[in-house]
């Protein structure tokens, strides 16, 4: 009896594999369309923390955080703008911390905590000239992994389904094959 069941189980499972053997002869080829194409970076480069002591343009405004005479504003997915607020009437951006995949921030003492994709990173901000990453907890927030700002392009329409073995750090418009679509 056992062997009869096993036999049918194997037949049944085999039928599941069947579709993968076909070369999808009936499926129409993907069309060339105007859409969004991912910009990839190697993970170790995408996760580099860099401080630029120079005002940078804001691309997509995100969360704000007040700390002493400074205001920090997230540039969604790109990093953190540093704003000198010593004299509010003259407050302005003075620098930018590149933290790709970043959306959240909190500060205590000399340390800034932020997410970089799904990781929790700790930055020592005591001395801007020597601003650096002091620790990183990989995959601290597993759900951010598929939920970080550049997982999908901002615009609706066709986009190239991103590869899962690389990090997306932006999107550009191009002529692409119509494989993914954002409503």
């Amino acid at each position: 009896m056992k062997y009869v069941l096993l036999f049918f189980a194997v037949i049944f499972l085999y039928s599941c594999w069947e579709p993968f053997k076909k070369n999808y002869p009936n499926q129409a080829p993907l069309q060339k369309v105007w859409g969004s194409k991912p910009v990839y970076a190697a993970e170790n480069i995408a996760k580099q923390i860099i401080y630029t002591a120079q005002k940078q343009p804001l691309k997509k405004a995100g969360n704000i955080y007040a700390f002493g005479k400074f205001i920090f504003q997230i540039d969604v997915g790109r990093g953190i703008h540093v704003i000198d607020n010593a004299d509010p009437a003259k407050a302005d951006r003075i620098g930018f911390i590149t933290v790709n995949g970043c959306e959240q921030i909190s500060i205590r003492g000399a340390y800034l905590y932020a997410n970089s994709f799904a990781d929790l990173v700790t930055l020592d901000i005591a001395n801007p000239a020597n601003l650096r990453e002091v620790s990183r907890i990989p995959n601290a927030f597993p759900q951010f992994r598929f939920n970080y700002p550049f997982v999908q392009p901002e615009e609706k329409g066709y986009f190239t389904c991103p590869r899962t073995d690389s990090v997306v750090i932006g999107w550009v418009k191009d002529s692409i094959y119509s494989d993914c679509y954002k409503n």
Binding site: P57, L58, A61, G62, N63, I64, Y65, A66, F67, G68, I71, Q73, I83, N85, P88, A89, K90, A91, D92, R93, E103, Q104, I105, S106, I107, R108, G109, A110, Y111, Y113, A114, N115, L120, T122, D124, V134, S135, I137, A140, F141, P142, Q143, F144, N147
Partner: protein, 248 residues
Amino acid sequence: MKMRLTAFVTILVISICAMFYSCTKEATSSSASAGKGGSLTRFTIAGSFLYAVDNNYLYAYSLNNPAKPEKVYTSPVGMNIETIYPYNKYLFLGTQTGLFIYSIDTPAKPLLIGEARHARSCDPVVANDSVSFVTLKSSGCGPAVSGLYVYDINSITKPVLKKTVELPDPVGLGLQDSILYVCCGNAGLKVFNVKSPFLPNLISIKTDGNFVDVIPYDGLLICFVQDGIILYDITKPATPVLVKKIAN
């Protein structure tokens, strides 16, 4: 137009009703050496702990060694957590299905002590000793009526919905003394007097930007707008004065 009507009705209701005073202490945030975030944040520091939420989980990280946070707690909360707001010994979690209140008397072990369910929507929270203010934004989030929801939290384990003010897609909000600032995108920053918290009184609307979130901080209202930051002087909280706009 709808807004004006709501405001009018609110003012009318207030003028008819007898005013009652409720103590609303200044909302202060956590410890001395931490900064202050807005109401849309998923990270917050209280004492020597960093609390964070992703879609379904609440995490606590000990900052005993501030250079190397250490995870001490993880707990599933529910579906679609969006924001976390600390007040005194509590964490207020705004989720798409309701308001959750955690006690952090034992900082490394947050304990769920109260919740108020509502129809699906997006909702940041601010709170003080006796009241919690929640904005629900229905567009793209769910069927709930967009607006400001005021909960009585005198009994913290049983938040009671006391008042709803219909607003078009409100987002972040901030509380300074008895003044509540509610961001309504392009419809402006709505300034409410909430001395009687269950009868919020709209006193003015600022239309200098597309408002998303605010932080009342040291006499200054820091506003996150779609194209950057706007600063208002709120030494007199009821009458914000434009100080600076930092746009692209």
